[in-house]
Every structure is written in structure tokens, then in C-alpha cells.
């Protein structure tokens, strides 16, 4: 029974009270996520070098795998942006295409990350090896778990898009999940710098 007139320039996801409230609430949630990752980063940086005689990051990190992961995730953020662009232009097809590509890139990222983790464990660096590796696996693993959640979440939203098309409700969900996806990208940039680059020059 909402009888407010919206200008045609107002995106669909902002055309309902629920939409506006949920988007704002999600931004605030991301603020809490920043606090969460900051704590993990602080923990990591405090424990850097505490390898207890075991392998250190400099010996195990390889630039090529990390660069591929970075490339996949950063590109997925770009395609996610394109998906929103097509959504704003009311193109369900474009939205599906680019969200699909985003998911594929995200899955690729996860694949490489899992491969990387298995490799480290194989080389004798696991969660239980030393404080350093505990911090590494929990920080990078928390990010990876977030990516996994994001992929599952976006798949659920794609099903709902298929069922309902572009409505204020479904576009809101797409938009919020895109905020989440970009946020994971930002966190990765910090991981790339503080964990991998720093680890390799140590």
C-alpha cells in the first residue's frame, strides 16, 4: 500500500522502505566485519615470525599461485559491478550472465586457495604447527569461508531471480550481496599485502 512516487532514476532496490533500511543495515554490518578482520590482522601481525623452529612463510609462499588468486578475485569484483550495471538497466539476462561469471571466478579463487592450503599442509605447515601458521590459516581461512558463504548466498539469490524476476525485493538482495562481494575483495587486498608480500620479503 506504499503509494510514494519514485523518480525513474531511483534504482529498484531503493524503491521500498525495506530496501533502504536493509542496505543501510548491511553497510553497518560491514563496519562490524571490518572490526572482525582488523582483529584477525592484528593477531596475525603480532604472531608473525613466531614459527617455533618450523617452516616460515618465505620458504613456502609462491608468487604465481597468489597472483592467480588475486587476479581471479579482483576480476570477479569487476564482473560483479557489471552485473549491477545490467540490473540497473533492467536486463535480467545481463545480470545472470555477469553474476554467473562472478561465481565462476569466485569458485576458481576458492579452488586455488584450497590447493594452496593443501600444499602448505603437505610441506609441514598446518594449523597446529606454530602460532604463525595458526594465525595464517585462521586469517586467510576466514576470508575463504566468507567467499564460500558468498557463493552459496548468490546461488540462492539467482534461484529467486529465476522465480521472481527483477523486483524491489530481489534487486535489493542482489545489491546487498554485491556489497558483500566487493568487501571481500577489499579484505583480500590487505591479505595480499600484509600476508603474502610482507611474508615473501621477510
Amino acid at each position: 500500500m506504499e503509494s510514494v512516487e519514485y523518480s525513474p532514476n531511483t534504482p529498484l532496490e531503493y524503491q521500498s522502505e525495506t530496501g533502504r533500511l536493509n542496505i543501510l543495515g548491511f553497510w553497518i554490518f560491514l563496519g562490524a566485519e571490518i572490526a572482525l578482520f582488523s582483529t584477525l590482522f592484528a593477531t596475525y601481525l603480532v604472531l608473525v615470525g613466531r614459527t617455533a623452529g618450523g617452516p616460515g612463510p618465505g620458504e613456502l609462499f609462491e608468487i604465481s599461485g597468489v597472483l592467480i588468486e588475486t587476479f581471479l578475485l579482483l576480476t570477479s569484483s569487476f564482473t560483479c559491478g557489471l552485473a549491477i550495471h545490467y540490473m540497473r538497466n533492467h536486463s535480467l539476462k545481463g545480470l545472470f550472465l555477469w553474476l554467473g561469471i562472478t561465481l565462476a571466478l569466485g569458485l576458481g579463487f576458492l579452488g586455488f586457495e584450497i590447493y594452496e592450503f593443501v600444499h602448505y599442509i603437505h610441506e609441514g605447515a598446518a594449523l597446529t604447527t606454530s602460532a604463525y601458521w595458526s594465525a595464517f590459516f585462521v586469517l586467510v581461512g576466514t576470508h575463504g569461508a566468507h567467499v564460500t558463504m558468498g557463493i552459496a548466498w548468490i546461488i540462492l539469490i539467482l534461484i529467486q531471480l529465476k522465480q521472481r524476476g527483477l523486483t524491489p525485493d530481489t534487486t535489493r538482495k542482489v545489491f546487498i550481496s554485491s556489497l558483500y562481494w566487493h568487501f571481500l575483495d577489499v579484505v583480500w587486498i590487505f591479505i595480499f599485502t600484509a600476508v603474502y608480500l610482507y611474508g615473501m620479503v621477510m
Binding site: 500500500m1 533502504r20 533500511l21 536493509n22 543501510l24 543495515g25 553497518i28 554490518f29 563496519g31 562490524a32 566485519e33 572490526a35 572482525l36 582483529t39 584477525l40 593477531t43 603480532v46 604472531l47 613466531r50 614459527t51 617455533a52 594449523l127 597446529t128 604447527t129 606454530s130 602460532a131 604463525y132 595458526s134 594465525a135 590459516f137 585462521v138 540462492l156 539469490i157 529467486q160 521472481r164 525485493d169 538482495k173
Partner: protein, 647 residues
Amino acid sequence: MKLDEFFVTGDPLIYGADVSIALTLIGAIFALTYFKKWKWLWTEWLTTVDHKKLGIMYIIAAVLMLFRGGVDAMLMRAQLTVPDAGFLDANHYNEIFTTHGTIMIIFMAMPFLIGLINVVVPLQIGARDVAYPFLNAVSFWTFFMGAMLFNISFVIGGSPSAGWTSYVPLAGLELSPSVGQNYYLLGLQIAGIGTLLTGINFLVTILKMRVPTMKLMHMPMFTWSSLITMVIIIFAFPVLTVALALMTFDRLFGSHFFTMMDGGMPMLWANLFWIWGHPEVYIVILPAFGMFSEIISTFARKTLFGYKAMVYSMVVIAGLSFLVWVHHFFTMGAGGAVNSFFSITTMLIAVPTGVKIFNWLFTLYKGRIRFTTPMLWSLAFIPNFVIGGVTGVMLAMAAADYQYHNTYFLVAHFHYVLISGTVYACFAGLHFWYPKMFNHRLNERLGKWTFWIFVAGFNLCFFPMYFLGLAGMPRRVYTYGAADGWMNLNVLATMGGVLMGIGFLILVYNIYYSFRYSPRETTGDPWDARTLEWSTPAPVPHYNFAHLPESKGHDAFWIMKQERKQGKTQEKKPYKPIHMPSYSGVPIVMSVFFFIAGFGMVFSWHWMSILGLIGVLATMVIRSFDYDKGFYVSVEEIEEDQKRTTL
């Protein structure tokens, strides 16, 4: 695992608890069946998303937890009254002070305040519900299930015994091998989810759901204090989430964050814990400040003195609260420069707090004071809290802290701030807003008995502890020798504790007595109060406001009443259907799955925790596919409700 390892055995106190828990459960099930109330319980309460009902459930849970934490306190006092007492052994005593502290902070103070915030804040800002009613129910039920998980530890598996701060290595696997510490980690983790969601929910509610005419600087002070509290929650609770998760990994999966070996760093835990823990004490004190502001202003019949100064001082307190955490462990040896920095930031907090104290005093100045029960609690708060605050500044001096650290001086200090701040506020707020929740007032005569006995008992209990601390009595010891000379003051403290217990019992009796005999409210404004929650009729309709009220400045309802006295009448506008959210069973089911997952992790039964987590995810998927749009309250129903309104 054998059955006698699963259940706690061998202590008559525990058997007594087993029997009383079983009897209470059987009694509740019998009563619900006999009076055919199961359906009512489910449809009206367990599935509700109404902020008023959720608030009431928060408060009921908090009062139960106050009882549990209070019993712990009485047991401790009983053990410490005379030297070399044999009432509790060392381990049992350790468990009791751990659960006492954890329950009182996490499962009593916070839910009591969040309960009052739930009931009052949407009404104060003229909203019909919170921004996310569904999430609000999730918040409540995760808190409740977290609290239950923590509480069953004392009959199943054994309680945590490393103190509410859970310092490692004591709380680590080597020195605390039992499952008790796991209960602490999982119980707090699950309840913490709810608190974070509350933080987001009420921040958005206060920012976006106010009546359009209410400016930020016209909001009631309790709403302001809630807003600032929510910001602290949003930035502090993720730190706790991480700290708890890391210790859980250490204990369950063999990582080395806080261990003594393989590069772990025990002091990292202390830092992370207090980076959350110090803001936490402001999370439980700022809403209390807000309540005292409302109550003092109402019963002094004056607008709050220094409104802007009140707001800014809370903002400053919130900022400083993140910069003082090291003062909890000055003796760790961080060095002179670090200790000096945190010493100074700690002392700085006294400045905005002092501003607030003077503002309350100036609000009282030349006011026409009515000594109602809520006002008495607020008036007692001021001198008692100042004692707690001044001794806090003494503790803030790093060099002197080497003397006070880990003594009863500290115990006395934080009970003086937490009880005379938070607990007095909970009691004041409960008496003050009780008619909004239950449509009748608590009996004033019994309320005053509670007040005088509790306040006398409180001071008798905790003031001697300052001197016990100066005489060298350390905290967290289960007994002492006669030669120490601490008995006389301990006897006084125990007498005070008994008085506080009696005060609490009178409060409980008052709830029963008032339910039976108090006259029902007719006006919705029993105290001649000033803010918008009092403009709602009695009982408050589930949609709160038939017409959204207008806010013309500070104390919006007071202005409305003045205008009415001058003969200005508002034109009758026609009612419109009101949109409200639907109730949902998903939050409680989701939280039960959280409980199952947590219980599985406590005992490392991974099949059970995976099952629980799958359940949690499944309920989230169900929620994601739920496009329920709520319903509309019809004009007829609104008109029927408004006939009851006398204003």
C-alpha cells in the same frame, strides 16, 4: 564417555540443583498442559517479533539470571564469612566466581538493559516497530540459547573455573582440561551473535525510524544513550567473536594462539579480551545513564540540564572506552610509557562522567522533586557511583595499581560502579516503565522497602571490601587464615549480601503482589512524564501509535500536554491501515540449532555440531525464500483500541 562423567556428581548442592531444575520443568509443562496454554505460548510469545514482547522476555530472562548469579554470590559470601570455612572446596569456589561474573555481565546486565531498550526506545521515537523485527527475534533467541548453554554446564559436564576473564594459560587445555571452559566459549559466542544483531538493528532503528519531526538533538536521553551504546557494540563485539573463536581453535583443534609452546602468546588473549571487555562496561553503563537522565528529569519536573553536554560527554566516553584496555593489566609489565598512556586515558574518562554527574545535580536543583521508587534509585545512584568512580581514578594510577591489583579493593570498585550504576538503573527503569509493559504499577510501598534494604545491604557488603583490599586480601581466594585478621569485615560484607538478597526477594514478591492487587492503568501516563512513550494508551496497542505523534522539541510529550492545557486541540484525522510484520517461528528454531551445534562442540561430538550447523543454514535458506510481506491492521481495530484512550 561414561554417564557419571557426563552429569556432574558427588556434590549435594548439585543434586539439589538437579532436583529443582527437574521439578521446575515438570511444573511448567504440567501448568501449560493443564491450562491449555501451549498454543498461546507459541503464537503469542515464542514466535513474536513485537519489540515490546521481546523486551519483556529479555527482562524475564535477566531476572532469572540475576537470581542464578545472586545465588552464586551468596554461596561465595557464605564461604568467606569466617576463616578456614569448609563449605566449598577450592575448585567449586572457582567455578562459582566464574559463573557469577560471566552471568551477571553477559546474561543479566546486558539483557536487562537491552530488554528495556527494546520496550522503550521504539516508543520514545514514535516508531511502530524496530527496523528489522525478524532479526530482533533472532537476537533474543540466540542470547537465550547462549545463556541456557552456559547455564547447563553446572549439571552437565562441569562449569568453567578460570574466571570470567578466562586468562590463559589457566583457561588453556593443559590447566582446564574439562569441558567447562568450552561452555564459556560457545555460550558467549552464540549470545554474542544476538548482541551484534541488536547493535545493528537499534542503530538503524534510531537513525531511520524516528517520527519525521524528531531531530537528533531532540531525542530523549535514553534513546541517545542507546544509540551510542549500539555503536560501541558494533565495534567491540567482533573483537570478542574473534578472541573466543581463537581460544576455541586452541582448545578443540590444536592451534597455538595463546598456548605456552610453539610460539603462542598468552598475553594476546588478555589484550583481545579487554579490547572488547572495557567497551563492554560502557555498554552496560551508558543505557543506565540514559535511564537516570529520564527519571531524574521526570521526577524533578524539569527539562534535563545540559542536554548537549550530556550527549557529547557520552560520545567522548564511547571514544575513550576503546583506548583504556591496558589498565586491566598494568602489572603485566608493558613498560612505563605504555602504562602512562593508558593511565592518562583512563583518568580522562572521569571528566565527561563528572560532567554528567553535575548535569544531574543541576537538573535536581530547584526542581519539585517527587520521591517515587524510580527516583529513589536514581538519587542513590549519584553518591554511590561517585564512590565507585573516585576509586576507579585511584586504580587508574599505574604505580598505585601495583598495590591494588587483584585485591578486594578492585572487587569493591567494580561492584560500586556496576551495581550502583547498572543494577540500580535496571531496578529504577523496571519500576518506571513497568506500567508500560504490564499495565499496572509496582507497589510503591514494597518498592521503597526493596530500595532501602538493597541499598543499605549493598553499601554494607561492598564498602568494607575497600578496606579488605587495602589490608591485602586477594580476590578469587576460596578461604583465608584467622591470623590474616580479615574476618570482621568479611562478616559485615556477608550481612550486607544477605540484605541485598532480602531486597531482591521483596522485589519478586512485589511483582506478584502488584499483579494481583495494583490498580490497572487507565491513562498510559502514570508518572506525569515527558517523553513520547507515555503518549501511548494503556495497554499499548501492538502497533504502538494509531497516528504517528509529533515531536516539537525536547520532552515532546510534555510539550503536547502543555499545548492541550492551553486549549489547543488537535484535529481528528482519519485512521489509515497500519502495516505490521508477521510473527515467525524461524528465529527460535534457528537458535535451537545453534544450541545443538554449540553443545556438540562443547563435547567435541562433531557429528552433532555439523548437524546443528546444517540446521542453522537450513533455517537461513527458509528465511531467504520467505517473501512474507506482513499484514495490515484494519481501521476498525484501530478505532476499537482508541476508544480505550482517554487522552
